[in-house]
């Protein structure tokens, strides 16, 4: 029986709409425990989340991170957006003021981890092999095995390059960061709305290439704002360093606040 609303009692049906916008409750509500799958003869309504296995681990990850005072950012973008260069520059700029650990997701190779390790920050590569995104169990495995040893203030997770699935799989992070490059056009947010809706911040990279592109910053911002009215937007060039100050300041402030 759910302690929140009492559903699951014999003969008592439940309609998830009763809970309105209480997403938190809805996620707690749908269990995989065998006792919740006992259905009375005349009762056939269920609300079993097919994401529950991942979400349960994600919640455990979230609790672990909170208990260890770690702010975790899940950085998501398409392949080639400049995530790794952005992280290289971020780590170089912040490592003397903040303790940071990085987990990098790719299907294969250790290329990105090797690149980031040159900054002197602890980095671990996770090869997902056949999966196009990181998931909560993959992160859970590394929290005790790797992250814990360094007692960092910040955990940066560079997700597999993909704008679709990473947005749907909760890792237990404190916040999602969406990265979009100028070379991808201005309408990526409309094409991949879930990520940009969920993001706590959006970073637009490769601003140094704008003079060579038919690309408009106001249009890109307008497209982001149609989905997300609140997330700060950082337009920068990791290569030249232009515009990175605000991004670094935000990241530092959010990690100190521990709430995003």
């Amino acid at each position: 029986m759910c302690k929140d609303c009492g559903c699951g009692l014999n003969g008592l049906s439940h309609n998830y709409n009763d809970h309105g916008a209480d997403q938190e409750h809805r996620h707690r509500h749908y269990h995989h425990h065998r006792e919740d799958q006992q259905i009375p003869q005349d009762q056939k309504k269920l609300m079993i989340s097919l994401m529950q296995a991942n979400d349960d681990v994600a919640q455990a990850n979230r609790l672990w991170l909170r208990n260890h005072n770690i702010t975790a950012f899940n950085i998501i973008s398409s392949p080639g957006s400049g995530k790794t260069l952005l992280l290289e520059k971020t780590l170089t700029a912040l490592k003397n003021n903040l303790s940071i650990v990085v987990l990098v997701g790719d299907q294969c190779t250790e290329n990105d981890a090797s690149r980031l390790q040159k900054t002197g920050v602890p980095v671990k590569q996770i090869n997902t092999i056949s999966t196009c995104h990181l998931d909560a169990p993959m992160i859970a495995k590394e929290l005790e095995a790797f992250v814990h040893d360094y007692e960092p203030e910040i955990l940066l997770i560079e997700n597999v390059g993909n704008l679709v699935c990473p947005a749907s799989f909760d890792l237990g992070e404190t916040a999602k960061i969406a990265v979009l490059s100028t070379t991808e056009g201005e309408d990526k947010p409309q094409k991949y709305p879930l990520l940009f809706r969920e993001a706590s911040a959006v970073v637009i990279t490769k601003m140094d290439l704008v003079p060579y592109l038919d690309w408009s910053l106001p249009k890109a911002i307008e497209n982001i704002r149609r989905l997300n009215s609140r997330a700060p937007i950082f337009a920068l060039s990791a290569k030249s360093g232009e515009g990175t100050e605000d991004w670094l300041t935000w990241l530092t402030r959010e990690s100190k606040a521990k709430v995003v």
Binding site: Y16, N17, G20, A21, Q23, R26, Y30, H32, R34, Q37, Q38, I39, K44, K45, L46, M47, I48, S49, L50, M51, A53, V164, C165, A167, S168, Q190, P193, L194, R197, R225, R226, L227, N228, S229
Partner: protein, 112 residues
């Protein structure tokens, strides 16, 4: 997005439900698909048919119901639909809105 993985999860749940409740068969299973979930109904149905065609679940029908994405406005309190993924209140045009439903994918019900 990962429809075959969701089918595996559906079948795992159906197995457990059938076992725990001593059902002889499950006639159909209804899946609630959030409009914002990234799950494609056609791909889910095709994956289900492919996964079950030569199994004990071959006669179990998969039905899909769309859970539309709606928003509730934090300014005027009204609920409206989301059109073209433009998160704006249809009434007062505020962008201070929160989603209701439209996310996730659930086994909503079964018939036996």
């Amino acid at each position: 997005m990962h429809e075959i993985k969701f089918v595996a999860e559906i079948l795992k749940n159906l197995e457990e439900i059938k076992l725990i409740n001593n059902f002889t068969a499950i006639k159909s299973v209804e899946i609630l698909i959030g409009e914002f979930s990234g799950v494609d109904e056609r791909a889910l149905v095709a994956s289900f048919q492919m996964a079950t065609h030569d199994s004990i679940w071959r006669d179990t029908e998969l039905k899909c119901v769309l859970d539309p994405l709606k928003i509730t406005c934090q300014e005027c309190g009204k609920t409206s639909k989301v059109i073209d993924f433009d998160f704006i209140c249809s009434y007062c045009k505020s962008r201070e809105v929160r989603e209701i439903g439209g996310k996730g994918i659930f086994i909503q019900s079964i018939s036996i």
